[in-house]
Symmetry: C2
């Protein structure tokens, strides 16, 4: 019998890097750019600044690329840089509000991929408001899941923010189109961001800045009772074991007012003034089940969410695609397993879109465009389920659908964050949104046909 | 700025359990059964015994199920039971040969899901050849990724092997059909396995035992040079730093004979008798790149692989589906990024298959049937890419395609192991296999049409 042992999470994602988007030399270039830009946009959001992001991709030899992304974000606290970039499952985004990053994995995967394909360390130059900037040169010890600091020194940077340089093996020829598309689509969900993409030749692409307004930063929220599985409940109990049960519920969860808590506990046959540490294991189990099923709690607070919103969404799609007709819609915020979410979208008609029998679908989650793994994504499945002949498609039409899902927790199918898993509440909201947009298209297509008939007369 | 911290791999997979197949109450039942049965079949393979596996699924209350899987495998070494079941990324299958399990994650996910939905501990009764069996009752400490031993004691078991009982919340009504299908299809790739499935009612399903022959156990192999990225190469170097470079290559890798090694090093301009610890960092980097690209090394040894094989594959498909026509084919073994793999498959015509325009596809990897996430799987994509009208489908036909991919390393898209990522060498092999089977169908369909025309005369 083979020996038993454990492996580090870095080892796991090294062995299975295709799960994180680093399986082949084309997608790896895209994934590296995407993980870096995503982090830059989150950092600019933290700093409440209009993002100015500069990406330089340099083809150093046949298939060795240098990817450098510079931002004007918050910068990192210096003592956290080595682990942020050199340790898997380490980060600052584990709280309950909508952001692009979530795992503490993304940039470390890019560093890892660069290291195993080119033996290069990542260079991180960051400056925050606490003092002059620092430059780190880092490697990752995969078996231990720890950073190796090759060098670090003080170096002032022109402004607060971060510049990350990664050297990796990649197929730039094939990846280029994907990277350009990713950057353009990023400005749809973040219309205030100004992004420059420089391929080292004569070509420099500049996009974004469609809007001048910095979006409001979402506010972290308490968990909703519907998310209270036993693990979450136990942790809340451990934090304040001597609280009275009634106060515990009101203080630990959102949407649990004093009277609702009393009514709920009465219905459960539990004593409001009992200390929670006195609850039996069976009571805790029953409490967990009932919190998740009781229908008397309000819908989750959506201030932890950050949709693009009608004005900005229409503005950015118009700026990029100049559609002849466009419409925005947004579903009422909802929740999946207690996690607040929204679904918003735009449908557009225009000559820049290909003529198709079902709309060209552009997917976004938490303000990030998704370019891979479309076929099992719940958004794609629902879009294909509609009979588009009943929604204006008597023949091919130049129509595109832009769908944005945002949540404090996105149910990604895999660590590469390219595809949404199937959750019944999300399916319901996305279906409602697509039908609303489809009906608007049908009305518009009707008008279009009518005006053509009138024109012929 | 939010606090920086790390999370354990158990915490990561708890938060993102949909990536491992535990996102909703229907798929969770299927995933739990699948992870348990997969482990039982691997254990029987280690013990070189004909698997006798008994699955009992008991509906204890509206949506609480007890899932119990008993096998006659090798059992576990007693000291490893707590971590095997109560720690994520801990297992015995990290070596280089084909097996069903690979991550050290599967069963712990089922334990975790059961624990957070029903507060139950997993009960593991195992016995191995070293002494009388032991029963463990375990929970998992998610934040620490460590097992919690609720109880353990000696308890003799009727035979060597393992019985695992997990209580979880699930939708048995919806999951039942998937579980039955999974068990039936499992006997296609493991035709010697006898599996009983008992739903606690009057219904007891017994399948398998189509073949009486225990398949040969695969032999672990040395890495192939084409897999020598810098991480792998560094680890090999660290194991034997004072070896001469020539001997290092011949001893560390498969398919590197003495003369090939000399020729390769001459071509690289490196000294065969230099000690590897004396190599510069640049030389190691060059060595890694060249090992992966040199075309003078032989194809990988395929004794680390375990295909079903023609005889067993035809026997099991016939036993389950009684096709009127059936054909087997297997591609020459190949490698993807240095990992040996095979692609084998069967095409069958028969009234038990639905009439379709493209064949009903049954996918298998490393002897495990895949029932979810078909649409982005490379096998599905290639099958849909073929123009089946040119392969005998002048109209709908009752045709099914059974495709089995096996490798020392399977490039799964996500931790739930339901879908294969896109790798160019795998695409090539699967395309070749599907075309071979398609051409055979075309010939057969031609004969069928001809014999119908003859019959009408
Ligand atoms: N450009 C940047 N500016 C400021 N902070 C950054 C930047 N890049 C990374 N960080 C910090 O490093 C941490 C780790 O980044 P990483 O991309 O690995 O994880 P993440 O963004 O938290 O989650 P995900 O894996 O989903 O991307 C982040 O949480 C963030 O705090
Ligand atoms: N029924 C069993 N009989 C013998 N050993 C078992 C059994 N079930 C689990 N094990 C042992 O426990 C370990 C952990 O199991 P687990 O399913 O978590 O991981 P794995 O099978 O190694 O990989 P994967 O995550 O891909 O399933 C296995 O590697 C195996 O050694
Ligand atoms: Mg990130
Ligand atoms: Mg397993």
């Amino acid at each position: 019998v083979e020996g038993f042992r454990s492996i580090s999470p870095a080892e796991f994602f090294y062995r299975n890097r295709q799960m994180a988007g680093f399986g082949n030399p084309t997608q790896s270039v895209y994934s590296a750019v995407r993980e870096l830009v995503e982090n830059s946009l989150d950092a600019c959001e933290d700093a409440q600044r209009i993002p100015q992001i500069r990406i330089a991709i340099d083809n150093q030899s046949s298939d060795i690329l240098s990817i450098k992304v510079a931002d004007n974000g918050s910068g990192l606290p210096y003592q956290h840089v080595p682990e942020a970039f050199g340790r898997v499952l380490y980060g600052s985004k584990y709280d309950q509000k909508q952001k692009r990053g979530t795992f503490g994995l993304g940039v470390t995967m890019a560093v890892l991929y660069g290291q195993i394909t080119t033996d290069s360390s990542v260079v991180v130059h960051t400056q925050n408001s606490s003092g002059p900037g620092r430059v780190y040169s880092l490697l990752i010890d995969v078996e231990e899941n720890m950073p190796i600091i090759e060098s670090e020194r003080e170096q002032v940077r022109s402004d607060d923010g971060t510049t990350v340089t990664i050297k990796l093996r990649g197929d730039l020829k094939r990846a280029r189109e994907r990277v350009v598309e990713y950057i353009r689509l990023t400005t749809i969900a973040s219309p205030h961001a100004v992004i420059e993409l420089d391929f080292g030749g004569s070509e420099m692409i500049k996009v974004g800045g469609w809007s001048k307004r910095v979006p409001e930063v979402p506010i972290p929220s308490k968990p909703h009772p519907r998310s209270a599985d036993l693990e979450i409940l136990r942790r809340l109990i451990t934090k304040s074991p001597s609280k009275k049960l009634h106060d515990f519920l009101v203080d630990s969860f959102q949407q649990v007012g004093s009277r609702t808590a009393s009514r709920f506990l009465k219905f459960l046959g539990l004593d409001s003034s009992a200390r929670i540490e006195s609850l039996s294991r069976a009571d805790i189990s029953r409490l967990s089940t009932s919190l998740q099923r009781f229908d008397g709690f309000g819908r989750p607070d959506s201030r932890c969410l950050s949709p693009v919103g009608e004005e900005a969404f229409l503005l950015s799609v118009r700026s990029l695609f100049s559609p002849s007709w466009i419409l925005y819609s947004k579903q009422k915020p909802s929740e999946w397993q207690g996690n607040p979410f929204f679904a918003e979208g735009v449908i557009a008609l225009g000559s820049k879109f290909p003529n198709v029998d079902t709309p060209t679908l552009y997917r976004f989650t938490n303000k990030v465009p998704l370019l891979y793994d479309a076929n099992d994504d719940v958004m794609t499945k629902i879009m294909r389920r509609l009979n588009w002949k009943r929604y204006g498609f008597s023949g091919p039409l130049p129509v595109a659908l832009f769908m944005h899902f945002g949540s404090t927790k996105v149910p990604y199918r895999a660590a590469g964050k390219q595809s949404l898993a199937h959750m019944i509440e999300i399916e319901t909201a996305v279906t409602g949104l697509i039908r609303t947009l489809g009906r608007a298209l049908r009305k518009q297509a009707g008008r279009r046909d009518q005006s053509r008939r009138d024109a012929r007369k």
